[in-house]
Subunit: 694 residues, 2 copies
């Protein structure tokens, strides 16, 4: 019987033929002749003989009758594949359904090997990933990160060429040097938006975004089991994850003396911010096209992708969605009213706006989020006149690099906030936790109180799995990313109830003053509140001091998970929890937990609320699930672990007398002013490999 | 003593370190440790041991004291290098001067080996090529074509990736297949300009343009010997070669039912035609940036390249140049008038407009041609805000791919024509050749009279010399290009002088009707006259029939020279005439000699004039020089072999009574109507390598 671990080898070297060696130990798949593509015909065996001596491991692939794959195969392998394009999602959905319904790992291996050189490499990666995550018999696998398989979507194209040089010239791996990615290569200081390079172009940030969309597919084959899409509160998560991205981005903008991001809410406006990604897609062998400064959108009509969307369509959809919000209900396909109440309303809106198969009426409410990405991604060639590929906005693994992503999602968020704005404010008694008082909150880092420090740091990652058609062995890139010294929250709770009580500690942070230097009003500040952590505490009667490490955040995945374990990166380690970890692999990167701050220090309001866990708890059976980063990503196969609305208590307008954060506080809340200082020295890695040993 | 042939190895694999194996037989350069760059330190010897067994040839590089190269080294190796940028030309000029003045081939080899990994790879190629062409002791070398060294500038980026796959997977060279370049990959049929893909993206056409600029450098180091720039009638050649390109392009446009190219004569207009080259520069590891439809130029200010030019500057320069033309003189730096007469005027203007060091006053007349390329090439990022590289218009090896090249040069040509327009018309008696009459002219091809046929044809070329960091051995691309069946001119001359007389036969062709279907007026048609051939004939008394093969054209280089000899492409063959041939390597590709025509046939006026060689001859000593394609390229180290103005007799307005071509004819001229028919079947090459032999 096939070993499920071998399936992971199919992720390696995604554009090389499937018969080439995989993994660090030169494993080859021994496959039936009938599985070979026409392109290589009878070459397979002689090539395998050359690359893999007989002592190297072999995986025997059973010959079975292959289901019809002509629909997913109809997307050409060197065309762009985008989850924002419905016909692409449908093709991927077809392959996912095939993979999910095969009766054994053995059969899955056969079909996957057969399909690998026939379907689009990214579609294959996506479909196989989704299938491995959702099949019962493929649990416990540690899927490689998307950047390991497709590094070209994460790093400067110039680096890819240098890696090719390094692996070709220096075949003694011990003598190889990491290739340093320049810190500022996509624009110059003339471009104010470029101050955010470290956020937009961060590998972890982009990986998070890809992962999120991987675990929340939006399409399934008609008639198939809806469970891979129909996950608990997925529409609300779509809203909340992106809302938090905007909140975080705005905090970074303030850190860089830039105003809040302006929503792109008039699609006939020019887009002032150009973006030149300087990346090449290895699958397409085409550069990701740029967008020049001051580009204007045009109606997209690309029959090849069945894409036809105009600015008029977008305006229709947005006015219908806003009408639904203001009327308080949507009309589904059966002409029924579905009310947008304070519990399910945001979730319904999320599914409508993201336009998943759960949308109550796609004909009516359209496909606004995805089509916004598409209109922007094709602004340089809306009618395929120039046979051009989409820009970075056309793919979830690259979209966050572009300044327009934030302007687009600020607009999407404004629509969601329109709904939140008409919900009743939380009353003080709802917010309170009787007999529970938070007396103080502080953070501590390296002996300093309420002072956090950020800095830049170098890290090495190994891209060898995704470097196709070049000599094997680790090839490292050295990237520079934001980091902060780890810190610890300490807060004191006074439980006067006389009994042990459970509390849900909710920690947020937001800038204290706005871009003009004025103290922020609550109505603005609540939208900039960044969730830092949320966790259960058991409070004994009386005063109790709690501490919590920043690395335990419910928002983030650990640094090591983003950058992977370097020590055995060419292999595929498996630990029992690794599958869970992969699900958690969706999570904000811990190194980006707090905003950069400023050299002179920047003030933030740190906020804690301890809410009554009796009102928040979600009762569910089954295993504890992944608990690494549920805040933005939920839990695998389980309900979202908080009955409150996401973003609570900041997701609605405040009660009438609340002007500033202080007014908002009930006794179970507390704030502290903290300062984030940015230290501009870069934490370098030790010297490069010594080239002088011959 | 060093063998000069080894210098050619330095062109191979231009971005690989100099110590890697070169040539088909794995030659390595054994170089002094002090020549190694910091990057590879002591690795050189162990790498050489790995790649080249001791039996492989070695070239010993002598250690000499290296001249200061810091100025050419100041252009970073992964930046763009462009001959249109003055500071780049100056850096190349410095290196050329160093190469030219070294006392022996031995010294040249040492400095070239030292410089190769330190200066920009294209700058190195350019400077070494110029030096080898001009040094007395390096004559007789067959320099590789530019496309062999830098194939990335000539083919689709997707093909480069497929070549990498082919050479990596299929290491048995006999089993490798050529990679087919799709015929229409840069745009769709929605784009009318794309009908000209076969002309603009032709390898031979672009190679010609690069070559021309290679043999006619425009910059030298101040104080150095001016002879490499100051060649006979180089300014006029600049005018004429480009004028002919426009004439040819217009004939192709008519063939494709498009109107004549519109001069880009108002720099504040938008450029309707976008262009997306879909090529990656391997040197920069960056894609050639596109230009979107309807882009507008902005002032360029890029301090890094010392580039600062505004639309106002361009307007100033053009009005001063036109003022000089209309006044009939230019003012040089010594405040002297230099008259633009009918002999030297066009040459002076050429040097002014191309802005060579021969320009009489660059401060006054500027740098209009080069800066037009620059303004267009940087229209996507004029201020380096986005750290972008120039588009294809920024380099002579790629500029002709872009539709704007022709609009720009149509404007440049209009300026030249302004000068030609005020020269006195040729009188009938000047045009005549007493006692010499041309009785008839016809062409014949495959038995048909006055009917030519064009078609598309596949050819294979080997790109292995320029494919860096991948397994060795030929890797072929199969490209599709225009071709025509060879043909023969037959013309009858009647010499009534009673003595043997020399005549200069001048053959031209132009479309018979304009884009609106009206018979062309001479004033328009003369500008569309394509020179097909020019050759000396010796006419005995009486009637004499002459024939001439189309392959002998004085305009073109042979097909084999453009596509190189495939049989030993990994080596560096040397024949006595190869150096001369290289100079002739500058020449219009023979496969593009005649325009495409139309499926239904397209009428052209074929024109012959036999002029009196006594008035045309240029007396000069020395070897006969290269006589392959002097019409657009001149002769190596010799005078232009025709005393008449280039384009004669069509370079001026006609005498007053001439309305159509017929009126223009004197008895030593004759025309014939010929039809060019395009046969749309593609002449395919035989089947691909058989992959099934194991």
């Amino acid at each position: 019987m096939a070993d499920k671990k071998n399936l992971l080898l199919l992720f390696d070297h995604p554009t090389e033929p499937v018969f080439m060696d995989k993994g660090g130990n030169k494993t080859v798949f021994e496959m039936p002749d009938s599985y070979m593509t026409e392109n290589y015909g009878g070459l397979c065996k002689s090539v395998q003989k050359r690359i893999s001596a007989d002592r190297d491991p072999k995986v025997f692939v059973r010959e079975i009758s292959i289901p019809d794959l002509s629909y997913p195969e109809s997307l050409k392998r060197n065309e762009p594949f985008s989850l924002f394009v419905k016909s692409h999602r449908q093709k991927a959905g077809h392959l996912i359904e095939v993979f999910l319904t095969l009766k054994s790992v053995d059969h899955l291996q056969s079909v996957a090997v057969y399909a690998r050189d026939r379907v689009h490499p990214v579609l294959f990666n996506y479909a196989l990933s989704v299938a491995l995550l959702h099949r019962k018999d493929t649990q416990g696998l540690d899927l490689p990160s998307f950047w390991q398989t497709f590094p070209d979507r994460f790093v400067d194209s110039a680096v890819m060429q240098k890696l090719r040089e390094e692996s070709y010239v220096v075949q003694n791996i011990a003598q190889r040097r990491p290739i340093v990615i320049p810190t500022k290569y996509t624009a110059s200081d003339l471009e104010p938006e470029h101050r955010l390079w470290y956020f937009r172009e961060d590998m972890g940030v982009n990986l998070h975004h890809w992962h999120w969309h991987l675990i929340y597919p939006i399409e399934i084959t008609p008639g198939a089991d809806r469970s891979i899409v129909d996950k608990d509160r997925r529409g609300e998560l779509f809203y909340y994850m992106h809302q938090q991205v905007i909140a975080r981005y705005n905090a970074e903008r303030f850190s860089n003396h830039l105003g809040r991001v302006k929503p792109f809410n008039n699609l006939t406006d020019t887009i002032a911010e150009g973006y030149f990604p300087k990346m090449d897609s290895l699958v397409a062998s085409r550069a990701f096209p740029p967008r020049f400064d001051n580009t204007r959108l045009s109606d997209v009509n690309r029959p090849v992708d069945q894409l036809r969307v105009g600015i008029n369509d977008m305006n229709l959809w947005s006015s219908r969605i806003l009408e639904a919000i203001h009327q308080g209900f949507v009309i589904n396909r059966n002409e029924e009213k579905i009310y947008l109440d304070d519990v399910k309303g945001i979730d319904i809106l999320g599914n409508m706006i993201e336009a998943t198969v759960l949308s109550p009426n796609q004909t009516m409410y359209g496909d606004i989020h995805n089509m916004g990405h598409i209109l922007i991604a094709y602004s340089h060639d809306p009618t395929n006149r120039h046979l051009e590929f989409p820009g970075v906005m056309g793919d979830s693994s690259t979209a966050m690099r572009d300044p327009i992503f934030y302007k687009w999602h600020a607009y999407i968020d404004d629509i969601f906030q329109e709904h939140k704005r008409i919900l009743p404010a939380y009353r003080a008694d709802e917010l309170s936790y009787q007999d529970m008082e938070v007396l103080s909150i502080k953070v501590e880092s390296r002996g300093l109180q309420n002072r956090l420090t950020t800095f830049f740091k170098e890290s090495d990652v190994d891209l060898s799995r995704g470097m196709d058609f070049q000599p094997r062995g680790n090839v490292m890139v050295r990237l520079t990313h934001l980091q902060h010294h780890p810190f610890k929250y300490t807060f004191v709770v006074n439980n006067t109830s006389g009994a042990r009580r459970y509390g849900y500690a909710r920690i947020f942070m937001a800038p204290k003053v706005d871009e003009n230097g004025y103290e922020m009003l609550f109505a603005d500040q609540r939208l900039m509140m960044i969730e830092l952590d949320k966790f259960l505490i058991l409070v004994p009667p009386g005063r109790q001091t709690f501490t919590r490490d920043s690395t335990s955040s419910s928002v983030t995945i650990p640094f090591e998970r983003t950058f992977r374990d370097l020590s055995n990166s060419s292999e595929t380690p498996n630990t029992p929890e690794s599958q869970e970890n992969f699900f958690c692999g969706c999570g904000w990167p811990n190194h980006m937990l707090v905003p950069k701050g400023r050299a002179e220090g920047m003030s933030f309001d740190l906020f804690i609320m301890v809410s009554n866990y009796d009102n928040d708890r979600v009762d569910q059976n089954g295993p504890d699930g992944c608990s690494t980063a549920p805040s933005y990503c939920g839990l695998r196969d389980r309900l979202y672990p908080d009955r409150k609305s996401m973003g609570y208590p900041f997701d609605r307008l405040p009660r009438t007398n609340v002007i500033t954060l202080d007014h908002f506080l009930t006794s179970n809340m507390k704030t502290a002013e903290i300062t984030i200082t940015h230290d501009s020295t870069i934490e370098k890695l030790p010297s490069l490999a010594n080239r002088n040993r011959n």
